[in-house]
């Protein structure tokens, strides 16, 4: 207990404010350092914006020059306008809602199942050894391989999609939990033991802090994989969502709509990355890796 407190003790005190209110508040104490960094960060942002604008311009010009049949490659401006009209349609929002619900359900099931299974198997050496070969066989099976099976068993439904959305992220988190639980410092564990901590207390104060960074990394990766698989499932299986809408626009064919929705999936992916990074920073605000990032 004591030992653990000295490890996490100073953490929340000096880092939590920074983590809570962003970079601005943290820089207060070291304005000198910030002066050197700020212009470079600003330059990067400008260049980045230029890059995005350059991409849009290139797209516009290529489409305008009709390098490809314009029915297949609409201009960027047409696509952007279409995206805006699409945002005004209830159909779009219900599709987006379906996608998000499938994603969240799948990710939730995968993470909970993986954490429970990973913790149990990781903490029992016998189970760990006995399951190793099976896990190493099941893990690389491409998730799309089970699409036909899911369709056969669950029909063209959200349940079928969930089978796929759960499968790959599950392994991602599961492996991380195994690593994390296996990474417990024996000295810390022995110390906790000699201080008379019970099994549950050690789980809470020794195993959890060790495994948490691994779990969160797994969660972050799993969140993007789950999104990819959600949209894949909608596209291939045809359960309602952005993916199915993309397939509808493809067969219509409605190229601007198709491209607009592809842009939406990219933005959705970026959003997921962003949110999971924020979650990571918040949950692990006490962890050296996050704290070091803050200082540098």
């Amino acid at each position: 207990m004591q030992q653990i407190d000295t490890v996490t003790g100073p953490g929340p005190g000096d880092v939590a404010p920074g983590a809570r209110s962003g970079a601005g508040a943290r820089a207060g104490g070291r304005a000198g350092g910030r002066r050197g960094v700020a212009p470079r960060a600003g330059g990067t942002a400008v260049l980045g914006t230029l890059g995005v604008a350059g991409f849009a311009l290139t797209w516009e010009l290529v489409a305008w020059a009709e390098v490809v049949n314009p029915a297949y490659l609409p201009r960027f401006s047409t696509t952007a306008a279409r995206l805006v009209t699409e945002l005004g349609e209830p159909r779009f929002w219900s599709a987006l809602g379906d996608t998000v619900v499938t994603w969240a359900l799948g990710l939730g099931i995968a993470v909970v199942a993986a954490v429970v299974a990973g913790a149990v198997i990781g903490l029992v050496p016998f189970l760990r050894r006995a399951t190793h070969s099976t896990v190493e066989f099941l893990r690389p099976i491409p998730s799309v391989a089970i699409i036909p099976l899911a369709v056969l068993v669950a029909g063209l439904s959200r349940e079928a999609a969930l089978v796929i959305v759960v499968y790959a992220p599950f392994w991602q988190v599961f492996i991380q939990v195994l690593y994390g639980v296996g990474d417990v410092d024996t000295v810390a564990d022995d110390t906790a033991r000699s201080f008379g901590l019970g099994r549950l207390q050690r789980l809470r104060h020794v195993v959890l802090p060790t495994a948490l960074p691994y779990v969160i990394t797994g969660f972050r990766l799993a969140a993007s994989i789950a999104l990819v698989l959600t949209i894949t499932a909608e596209l291939v299986i045809g359960n309602p969502g952005i993916g199915r809408q993309i397939d509808v626009y493809r067969s219509a064919p409605d190229a601007p709509g198709l491209y607009a929705l592809v842009l939406v999936t990219g933005l959705l992916g970026l959003l997921v990355n962003l949110v999971t990074r924020l979650v990571e920073r918040r949950v692990l605000h006490w962890h050296p890796s996050v704290r070091r990032e803050g200082v540098a």
Partner: protein, 276 residues
């Protein structure tokens, strides 16, 4: 990882205990799989359930479907060939372009947001786009594989090149190691652990996209066959297809691990030294 018996404990190597240990790890390796297959066989014994055929039937279907020269030449090998070419292309493009971007700060700043965006797009949604742009042929299938698996290699190469130890760079520069020489002996080795991590991701994404591109628009290939079996309710054949894809996935992972061990043996070695 629970990599078999703990090698950290060099107990006196009596031949008896060595044999016993080998047997034990063999038992651990095959125990659960055997148990699962037996359970599957028992649960489906004499079953009339359409969806879950007994393992013996799946095995027969596997041999008769996938090992016949006809399917092997028409479906399996072309699929695997496209997968191999697609991933190799991704690696080459990713490493070359990634080095250029990673070594040029302003280029990196210019392109980074766009690259992040492209990586965030689920690769599968590019299938319809590429179908529109390229039509349905081998080029489109290759393009689908490359369009998905190039990003992890590219972004990891950028990160790896950028993360090259500045002292190393300066030292080699002061010894006038420049250009291709510096690339071959300083930058590439420094970036290779990151690049290999990207390649591993590229492999699994590439495999998925190989299947998907054939599920969508094709009249041959692994992905097409599996969907075909499902639509025809040839369930044992479908299961055998899943089994085959699983085996391919495992084989690809195993080959990668071998290659990685070779390419990065110095890295794993130095890590072990650092840990000891």
């Amino acid at each position: 990882m629970a990599a078999g018996p703990a090698p950290a404990r060099p107990t006196s190597a009596r031949p008896m205990s060595a044999v016993r240990r080998a047997l034990a790890s063999l038992g651990y390796a095959v125990g659960l799989p055997v148990l699962l297959v037996v359970a599957w066989a028992l649960a489906t014994r004499g079953t009339t359930n359409l969806y879950y055929p007994p393992p013996s039937r799946v095995l027969t279907a596997f041999v008769s479907t996938w090992l016949s020269p006809d399917t092997l030449v028409r479906d399996v090998l072309p699929s695997l060939g496209r997968f191999a070419v697609g991933v190799l292309l991704s690696i080459v493009i990713g490493v070359v372009v990634g080095t250029a971007i990673g070594a040029t700060p302003w280029l990196r700043a210019l392109l980074e947001p766009m690259l992040e965006f492209f990586r965030a797009i689920p690769p599968v949604v590019l299938v319809p786009v590429l179908m529109l742009l390229l039509g349905i042929d081998d080029t489109m299938k290759l393009a689908v594989i490359v369009s998905g698996s190039v990003w992890p290699v590219l972004l990891n190469t950028i990160e790896g090149v950028r993360g090259t130890d500045p002292v190393l760079v300066d030292t080699s520069r002061s010894y006038r190691v420049r250009g291709l020489l510096a690339y071959r002996y300083v930058v590439l080795p420094a970036a290779s652990p990151q690049i290999m991590a990207g390649v591993r991701l590229a492999l699994s994404i590439g495999l998925i996209l190989m299947v998907i591109s054939e599920m969508f628009a094709s009249s041959s290939g692994l992905g097409y066959q599996i969907v075909y079996f499902q639509r025809q309710y040839m369930v044992a054949e479908m299961w055998s297809g899943i089994l085959l894809l699983g085996l391919v996935g495992v084989a690809v992972a195993a080959v990668f691990q071998l290659v990685e061990r070779r390419v990065l043996h110095w890295y794993h070695g130095s890590r072990e030294v650092a840990r000891a």
